[in-house]
Amino acid sequence: MRPKSVVLLFRLFWLFIVRRVVGRGLLASPAARLSAALLLVAAFAGFNVLSYVVIRQYLGGTGLLEPVLQVANASVGFWVLIAYTLIRVLFMKADELLKLSFNLPVTNKERTMGFALFESSLVLLVTVFIFGAFSISTVLIEGTDYIPKVLASIWFPAISTYLLLSLGYYLLERALQALRIARLRGLVVPMVLAIGLAAAFPQTNEQSSQIAESYVSGREYNAPVLLYAKLLEDVGLWFSILVLLATSAALVPAIVAIAPRNYVPMRRFFAILPQWLAGRKFGVYILILFRSFETMVAFSFILIYSVFAWFENLVLPPYALALITFQGVYAFSNSEPLRRIATYPGRTVANYLRLVGSQGVLLVVVGVPVVGLSLAQGVPLEACLPVLGFCVSNILISTLVGIAFPPEKGNPFTVIIGVLLTLILVMIFALGLNVFNFEPITNTAIFTALNLLVVFYSILGMRRMERIARNEVVA
């Protein structure tokens, strides 16, 4: 394996992201790109300031930062697993990216490693977003002496966890290839990760409460996840770094050795539901939604969460249902061939209604058993209704995101920016309306008006895309 090829591939993948992701849809104009970048930087800065103020106000000078850092250390594995799951699910659809390298003189091993390096740089970005604010705030409050503690409690465990997860993932890929079901990895891998999250969550909670109890009773708490922090305390930073390097030196070659040598294309659709549905336009929109692997992934996450909630006796409204409503992000681009293969694509409003209507059908199909389960657990119906309202709203919003930031086939990354910006705006609206303290009926009216606005802009966006395709207006 030539490291130079791996680095070249890594650079090629990043070039792809910069050219094909940051520069499409609404981000096509430089002004929009600058605004989006400023909004993201402002959001991260705001997150930092918020974290600093909260930690200083509630923990500064209390001596409580020490156990809080230990709790953060115990939860690092869980958060890295979340970041890894997000990136891994996104990468499942990144066939186009891999195909870029098929006509280059590189071996399959080099391709896999270049891809792994690219993936780890993205995981690093997500991890910086998750832990960055906390790390910066603690160092600002406690001084530079705290840097080794933050490194040993947060960043060293994060690196080792990521490497362990990568090794686990490649082992799973090898196993799937051996069982000749590697094409189904789009479904199997997210399910395994979801089961991992379901197992890690109570474990993390349990450890956090044990750390709190130990602190209150003045006992010392030891666990494998706190290894780097313990080594720092008992021996010193140099030894902690040495152990990190030794662990990485063992894990990285293991990853290189176990990474699959051949590439198996992933199955993106599953032939479920009867074929008579294909005879009707609405039926075809239902087929595309139900058959896509993204829906299967969301469904499997909801299923695993529901089973987990039942056994763990988590009595909560059916929040997990929201996962199924993010399919709207792909609804417009996935159904693009349906509007392209016919010389008469149909009316825009009718096509929009088919897009959101099919998602409504999916929500009902998945929602009935999930809400039923919540009701059986004793959650009142009044607590479930706002969740359903949110789900309907999310279908409309995610469909708009999919129209404004259309994800390409085989390139799922285009969707990230749209989803991030939308989440920021939705959070601002929710918090803003909370400040106004309106009556529930007024809040409902405002949300309805906002949703109508979303519908209006979605139809306008679809019409504009059609006009761009017909070269009636310039993109």
């Binding site: 705001g46 103020v53 106000q57 601002i428 909370n434 400040v435 303290n437 606005l453 209006f456 306008l460």
Partner: protein, 105 residues
């Protein structure tokens, strides 16, 4: 139709800007308030924030709008700014079109 679309876009953008300003002011006010029972104001007196200590020792937060005028001003300024920028952009586009046509002729 074109003007109706522009009006709706203006209202949407102004609403978003107003919400961002309100939320930012609210967060700033929230973290500058430290004493229990003292009401703090933000955004030129438009928003208030007051933490209370309850009988069981828990902290209750009272938040809300004390004066809607500054918020209305923020909304109006955003709307006027949007309309101004949109009009200038429209004129510049027309000018560019005329220049291109003259160049072609």
């Amino acid at each position: 139709m074109k003007w109706l679309l522009r009006f709706i876009a203006g209202l949407t953008v102004s609403f978003v800007v107003t919400m961002i300003v309100v939320v930012t002011s609210f967060i700033t006010t929230m973290f500058s308030a430290s004493e229990m029972g003292v009401r703090k104001f933000g955004l030129f007196g438009a928003l208030f924030f007051e933490p209370h200590e309850q009988a069981d020792g828990a902290t209750a937060l009272e938040i809300g709008v004390s004066n809607g005028a500054p918020i209305a001003v923020v909304f109006s300024i955003s709307l006027v700014f949007y309309v101004a920028v949109a009009s200038v952009l429209e004129r510049l586009k027309l000018h560019k079109k005329r220049l291109l046509q003259a160049d072609k002729g």
